[in-house]
Symmetry: C2
Subunit: 235 residues, 2 copies
Amino acid sequence: MSLKYLSQKVAQTIDEELMSAAGGFSVDQLMELAGLSVAEAVQKTYDNKKYPRVLVCVGPGNNGGDGLVAARHLFHFGFRPSLFYPKQPNKDLYKRLLTQCQQLQLPVHQDNWSTHVEQADVLIDSVFGFSFQGEVRDPFKEVIQSFKTTSKPIVAVDIPSGWDVEQGPTEQVDYQPSVLVSLTAPKQCAAHFKGSHHFLGGRFVPPALAQKFGFDVPAFKGAEQTVELPRSSSL
Amino acid sequence: MSLKYLSQKVAQTIDEELMSAAGGFSVDQLMELAGLSVAEAVQKTYDNKKYPRVLVCVGPGNNGGDGLVAARHLFHFGFRPSLFYPKQPNKDLYKRLLTQCQQLQLPVHQDNWSTHVEQADVLIDSVFGFSFQGEVRDPFKEVIQSFKTTSKPIVAVDIPSGWDVEQGPTEQVDYQPSVLVSLTAPKQCAAHFKGSHHFLGGRFVPPALAQKFGFDVPAFKGAEQTVELPRSSSL
């Protein structure tokens, strides 16, 4: 199978089309399905008895929103998720997603990152997504630096945070996640992923849209929301 | 396992609490997860090669919305769904859900119900849900009457349409679906269900909410969004 990897611009355009009047999706819906995919990828990879403590590092944008949704589903899947959520935007959607996690009594941390990492079995990197550009700043600089040095497995949501969406690892950020969950379609940087499992999530792409942008949607099984991509699928 | 079956009033209160400021859910989110559950229940029960043509009968309220979401997921699960949607409300959410189906080029019908039934392998009854009260009127009267006489298997979303939410079959409507997908928790009328498969869908209930209303959430497997309930779980 040969997959086309998307540029930053095409990824943004596809997102906009899905949420346009012609596409009909709300951000609530897409985020729900994206976050559910991430949780399913974690569930497929890590046993909830051996790796119960999932620390979700939540950024201030849509990638963070996916992480909040994933945390909620992981709770229902029998994991014990907690959130590291230092910058909480004052936006209705994110506030509601946080409320949903608080209803499950998930611990929410805003500092002491390194302490929480020590107590986790798996980390989820939902800090920055395909819209991120520029330099990583604190409080996330410390977090992303620790991704390079920690021995804990890391699941990256769509993009390893701080990577260049197209070029992959940068001088500032070159950590490798264990698991990458590409959403909608892999971005070009996924060709530089060297971890053990690459999943595609987000089973909602209309064939006409995929055709328009010239990418293939691989076959998912049954009612699953993720499909594991062959490790050979590189550029 | 002993499941508590909900009254109409308690079911409504739980829905309101989930979507309150304290619960944090949007109707988009809950409908997405409910519709996904319905699609998964269909996928678990019917082979998409033997039963590809799923006719979703869509009512004018939230039950119909669940059906629209289910139709979209069923397409992605390899079925060939079509919609019978005679009364299309002018409400943003339903219009967007319909747009999403149209993006998949699903056929949308507004009349000639009986012709479409003949060409279907499975019917989904997403006409009325737990808020329905009173008498069934056309265009849905003909539809629901045909549920009684058709030989096609029927999957009912939450409530067999026209049943009394608590008492079950009525003098006007006493059809039996083959599959019942209870959402959040079974309603009292589910005790009168005599079909072959009873699923629970909607894997989003916070334990504190279930405790408050005195019902149990059974164990789901893996990342699944439905669990089959034992046929012995009756009042």
